[in-house]
Amino acid sequence: MTALRVLAMRVKAFVLGSRNDRDLDDDIRVHLDLLTQEYVRRGLSSEDAYAAARRAFGGAEQMKEVYRDQRGLPLIDGLVQDLRYAGRMFRRDPGFTAVAVLSLAMGIGASTAAFSVFNGVMLRPLPVPDAGRLVLLEPQRRGTQFILFNPIFEELRRRQRTLAGVFADDDRPFLKVTVDDAASSSYVRSSLVSGSYFSVLGVSPSLGRLLSERDDQLPETSGGESCAAVISHQFWVRRFQQNADVLRRTLRVRDMLCAIVGVAPQGFISHQGGYAPDVWLPLRPLTDRKLLESRSMAFFGGVMGRLAPGVGMRQAETELTALYQQILAADAETRPADFRIHVVSGAQGFDHVRRQFSTSLTIVLAAVGVVLLIASANVATLLLGRGAARLPELATRAALGAGRLRLMRQLVTEGSLLAALGAVLGLALAWIATPALASLVWTGDAVLADPRVIAVAIGATVLAALVCGVLPALRVSDATLRASMAHDGRTTTSHGQRLTRTLVAAQLALSLVLVTAAGLLLRTLLHFSGIDPGFRPEHVVMLDVRDEKPGSSFGRVDTAEQKAARAVLYRTVDERLNALPGVRAASVSWLGLFSRQDLWLPLIDPDRPDSRPEGRVDYVSPRYFETMGMQILRGRGITDRDREGTERVAVVNEALARARFGGDETLGRRLAIKYTGEQERPFTIVGVVRDSKYNNLRELRTEPMMWMPIAQAPFRMSSVALRVEPHAEAAVARQAETVLKQTDGHLMVREITTLSAQLHRNTARERLLLGLSSGFGSLAVLLAGVGLYGTLAYAVRRRTREIGIRLAFGARRRAVLSMILSDALKLVALGIGVGVPIAVAGGYSLRAFLFGVAPVDPAALAAACAVLALAALVAAYIPARRAAAVDPVVALRWE
């Protein structure tokens, strides 16, 4: 109580400020007057009486000092004083202040922006109640990722007791829906989910109701071809203008009519950051019966649950694994002991995006951390240099009675003020940079106003303040102050220089790490561009297409009539596309090149039926190889004469010919595909094409592949490719879309790109990292250069007299020049010596992104060292020139 009271009084006095001083002065005056009168009464002269009164009163000034410390908040008083002083110093040297604040702003801004993206992708929990209790169920077989088949999932869900609820999810980013009775359909982003989805996540509707278990029954049980749909708040706004009558609207999905029963709340995105569905639909009514019953084909992307009260993750894992093994034991072919359910935290939702980006994001984070360190060290270097120049001033203040602690506090305040200014500007930079940086990674949100991001921003600022405030302050030892006084501030002890030089070397070392990383990534990308893909990617327009004609669905074999009708349709499309102006060759195919699909099927040799290794397959139209620019080495390609009724023919690549038939003649051999209805009808090989990349430039070995006429395909087309005249890409793409729409309204275009863009996308991560590492690397080299320049410039100023003497005694100016330059190179050598091992370690951490270049690449290292040495020479040149230009007469008279 008393302590609080004292604090309150102190705060009050602090606020009142100088009025207190006047009050105390009044008290003292009265006191001295009365005391003097007393002495006069005792018989002293008025002068003697006054002197005696002063003596009896004691040291008034000392007392005032004690009184002040006792009265207000001396720490804050001092701080305000320090800040005022620092502000004056900065105003007097705006150039220095600008460089320091900008350096720190870039360091702090970059770390904050990078961390906010990292946080958004990797750390931020789903915005649902009690997200920490959500778990992901990951089946494993012998320690590697496995799949949970639906019947087993359903049994597991029915029998388990450790989870309060559990759901499966199947994301469909392109789902064709028709709103009400609209004439045309469109694609929506959707998720097919178990009925427990919203209750497990703990979400309540903003309108209507959400999905329940009753919505997730098989059509037979729920009675008919109807289902329920929940739409996202965003979709409600975008498509239905937030109209409440949305609850009377319907969505037609294939042959199902789904009534919109509710709208999800505004803040809810989904079960996974970065994926924002427009529509949630119940999983079972909309999934093919065959898939639901399959014990060999999986369809859903993941399983998430919420732990029951009082159950921990380990307990859930033990019990779910036991149950899983028990269920699998019914299947004679499997060894249940091989299987287990791995339970991991689901607080951040499904981790597909996180897995994809975790390594690159961690690397980016490390890189910006390095930049922050360099920036802080740089400002510390500048402050040290200036601190040395200020030693005489500090020494004077010390002589006038300022304690060493007081002076150190002053320097720490200055460093902290710089860091704070840097932080303000840095946050503004982060504000601008974060959305741009986030959009490189994903479609989700990266929020700056998040406790973790704020903590990191503050942490970065504190780190900067410590490095650039405390380091210079530590140098203000009594010894340096005394020395400075004694030598009139014209020479400095060497150990101050040593700290500065260490900092500069550290900056150079850290820059080397970033520049080397950039070099490795550059070599990787150069390697990519040097790869011969086996086709010609220039001027090829690609359309991602879906044949949405109703009638058949997964696993159901089309009738001969359906296949025939389709073959005619695709031939018509093919002919019309080839007739477009500006088109050199066009083709339609089942999968196409670089379509991110990778389908393998067993290929059976009818002569040796037990030999059935898998190979890639595709079905293509006649001019496919010409469109892609692939080279037919032997035999022929697919032609217009290969139709649904004619002989079944195939073209294979060299890899398949080599793997299956060794050195024997390939043409004329036969292979059949293991697929319902196809097994008994082999294809005769009529041609061999040159090996080429398929959907990944990183693939070192070409895999066996076989192409067959699309007219003889059991599957639908999904890709259109057109080789066009240069610069005709955009026009042809538009026309091709129209041709598809006009030929058949069910041919819907999902995406239009070019083949080179697809290749480009294949190296997106590497290019992103290269961009960031070279950007950060340049920044780092620039900062290190500024640090080096500052140090050398100061050293030259300090040594002007010495240089003058050397010149007076006949030293050549070239010698002076090379003396300063070699000084710089010594620092570079030190930086490189320390930096190379770190750069090598950095190279190893980049391993996953390197292709065609080893983590320790002498060329990249040498180039980085050269860049650094060059930057150092440029930075050193101006001070060196200044040293060489010293006029001995002026330098000596300077005494």
Partner: protein, 110 residues
């Protein structure tokens, strides 16, 4: 000859100020200092200025209160008086003091 005046023992100045105010009522700083010197009869070397930090300390703790008034020389001066909390504190402190002194005396007499 009188023994040389001794320093003010640590912590006793507060006690002396409180006692003075309890006996004399409201006083300004000079009055308090004078009164303490008179009572010590020259046995105490008091730098009179040191009572101002002590007065501030006591006021911050709420044991005394101050009020602006006019001094004998017709100037503005602060007059201090003891508060109820101050009286309580004085009683407790005086008691502790008496017991400490008694104990020390017993020790010295043995």
């Amino acid at each position: 000859m009188n023994p040389p005046p001794s320093e003010v023992p640590y912590g006793t100045l507060d006690l002396m100020v409180l006692k003075t105010l309890q006996v004399m009522g409201a006083l300004h700083g000079y009055g308090i200092a004078r009164r303490i010197e008179q009572m010590a009869e020259g046995a105490l070397a008091l730098n009179q200025g040191t009572i101002y930090p002590a007065l501030l300390r006591l006021e911050q703790k709420g044991w005394i209160a101050s009020e602006w008034g006019t001094s004998e020389t017709n100037r503005r001066a602060r007059f201090y008086s003891i508060t109820r909390a101050g009286r309580k504190q004085l009683a407790a402190e005086a008691d502790t003091w008496a017991r400490t002194v008694a104990m020390v005396n017993r020790l010295l007499e043995e």
